[in-house]
């Protein structure tokens, strides 16, 4: 706060707080929880693979099926509680509404075309329609992962939900596909951060310089 007050009016316009504290914390806790869920989930998958391949042991945690299951069913609480904090915060403070909306097919199409031509603007703190769709999409994917995971964990107690998602074997497939799509998002997301590294600083410290002021902050 003191730092923010010390800067002049002109500078404070450039050095803006992009991500609120709650968003930054929930983001990084989510990264950790997702790492645990994926690494243990791959080990669980390996015990009875849905397809004709297994994940490399080195990329999994738990050591054996029982260990991986312990990790998976411990980390799920972190993922769900942290995700719940994020969603409640996002709705309560209108963070979702002000950052992810409006999002129309027209806007998305326009920004998609611009992104493909490499002309999309990456304005700090303002998401273009492609980003809005991607971030809303991954929230949706995580909800599908949690719902399908619960249905596999408790296919009798949550049998209505399991039936809606294709029955026990159908849900296994759904959870796998949602995991793959989530990792596609993560890959693109990380590539974008590598291309625009200052976005990483904003998620770490909450601040980000505009393009013009980039040098001054180093």
């Amino acid at each position: 706060m003191g730092e923010a007050m010390a800067v002049t009016q002109a500078q404070s316009a450039d050095i803006r707080k992009i991500h609120p504290l709650t968003i930054r914390w929930t983001h990084w806790i989510n990264v950790f929880a997702m790492l645990l869920m994926v690494a243990s989930g791959w080990r669980i998958y390996n015990a009875a693979p849905l397809f004709a391949f297994k994940f490399p042991r080195e990329l999994t945690i738990g050591g054996w099926l029982g260990g991986a299951l312990q990790w998976h069913f411990a980390a799920m609480w972190l993922l769900v509680v942290n995700g719940a904090v994020y969603v409640v915060y996002g709705l309560w403070t209108r963070h979702f509404r002000s950052n992810f909306l409006p999002l129309t097919p027209q806007l998305l199409w326009r920004d998609c075309k611009m992104a493909i031509r490499g002309k999309i603007s990456h304005q700090p703190g303002v998401y273009n329609a492609v980003q809005r769709a991607a971030y809303l999409g991954v929230i949706g994917l995580l909800l599908v992962l949690v719902a399908s995971g619960l249905a596999i964990w408790k296919p009798v107690e949550f049998q209505v939900m399991a039936a809606l998602m294709g029955g026990y074997e159908g849900v296994r497939l759904l959870e796998f596909l949602a995991m793959v799509m989530t990792l596609v998002f993560v890959t693109v997301h990380v590539v974008m951060v590598i291309l625009v590294p200052r976005t990483l600083r904003s998620m770490l410290g909450g601040r980000m310089a505009s393009d013009a002021n980039e040098g001054g902050l180093k």
Binding site: F32, L35, L36, A39, I44, Y45, N46, A47, A48, P49, L50, A52, E58, L59, T60, I61, G62, G63, W64, L65, G66, G67, L69, Q70, W71, F73, A74, W77, I152, K154, P155, V156, E157, Q159, A163, G167, Y168, E169, G170, R172
Partner: protein
């Protein structure tokens, strides 16, 4: 249809993985938890295996409590038509099929003990005289695969009432002829679909599926469905289980 396809694929891959599981378990027990991959990925030091293990076991106990709270004693596991039955139904145990114990029907006795009014031993003929019913339900393995089968036998609740079991006790434990052991919570023991199984697919239970007595619990994972049962006891001390003591979640309800 998709079920059958999935199981066919799974079984091919399940057989070799069983050996790997036991090998992994030994490595796991000998060397503790290897977390190299995680440490590299996150940069966090989570190599303190002892404290990590304590947290994981506590979370598993917490998940026992959550599952007990979620458990609805009246909610039935889905049942299926005969056409949905998986054929052939997979064999599964911690040993190979040829190592399954062969009990003699004429000398077999089921010991019933613990917190029951009538500590007794039952012959097969006495057990077969109990009123029986059939169910076609899905067996879900802790490994993830599932298979649908038809089981016939007596209501376990009726049996427990018959021997005067203390139905307010917490656990029912099982000892098996193959040295397997497991235990379940009393609410699950009293669930209407929990069955003392004598038949599989309308035939006397074959050796590979647990002759002469198996407990079929469609609200639990497969490893909580003991086979070749020789003793049943009611207790307030959690008897644990063969896999449960190694790290599988104790409640493991579906």
């Amino acid at each position: 249809m998709s079920d059958l396809k999935g199981v066919k694929l799974d079984r091919k891959l399940v057989a070799p993985s069983r050996e790997i599981v036991s090998l992994e378990r030994r490595l796991f027990l000998n060397k503790g938890l290897s977390l190299g991959a995680l440490t590299m990925l996150t940069g966090c030091d989570v190599t303190d295996a002892d404290s990590v293990q304590k947290v994981l076991w506590s979370m598993s106990r917490w998940n026992d409590a959550v599952q007990a709270a979620i458990f609805d004693p009246d909610k039935l596991a889905p049942t299926y038509p005969e056409s949905a039955i998986t054929q052939p139904f997979p064999f599964n145990a911690f040993y190979s099929e040829s190592a399954a114990p062969r009990l003699d029907a004429s000398t077999y006795r089921l010991e019933v003990g613990g917190l029951v009014r009538e500590k007794s031993s039952w012959t097969l003929d006495q057990l077969y005289a109990l009123p029986q019913s059939s169910q076609i339900t899905r067996h879900i393995c802790v490994e993830g695969w599932s298979a649908i089968g038809k089981w016939t036998g007596a209501s376990f609740k009726t049996f427990l009432q018959h021997v005067g079991a203390d139905l307010s006790a917490k656990y029912v434990g099982f000892k098996c002829a193959d040295n397997y052991y497991t235990s379940i919570d009393m609410p699950t023991a009293l669930h209407p679909q929990t069955q003392m199984t004598f038949k599989f697919a309308d035939q006397i239970l074959p050796v590979r599926y647990g002759f002469p007595l198996k407990l079929r619990i469609p609200t639990k994972l497969g490893f909580k469905n003991p086979k070749h049962i020789v003793a049943i006891f009611v207790t307030n001390e959690n008897p644990g289980g063969y896999w449960e003591d190694q790290g599988y979640n104790w409640f493991s309800g579906s």
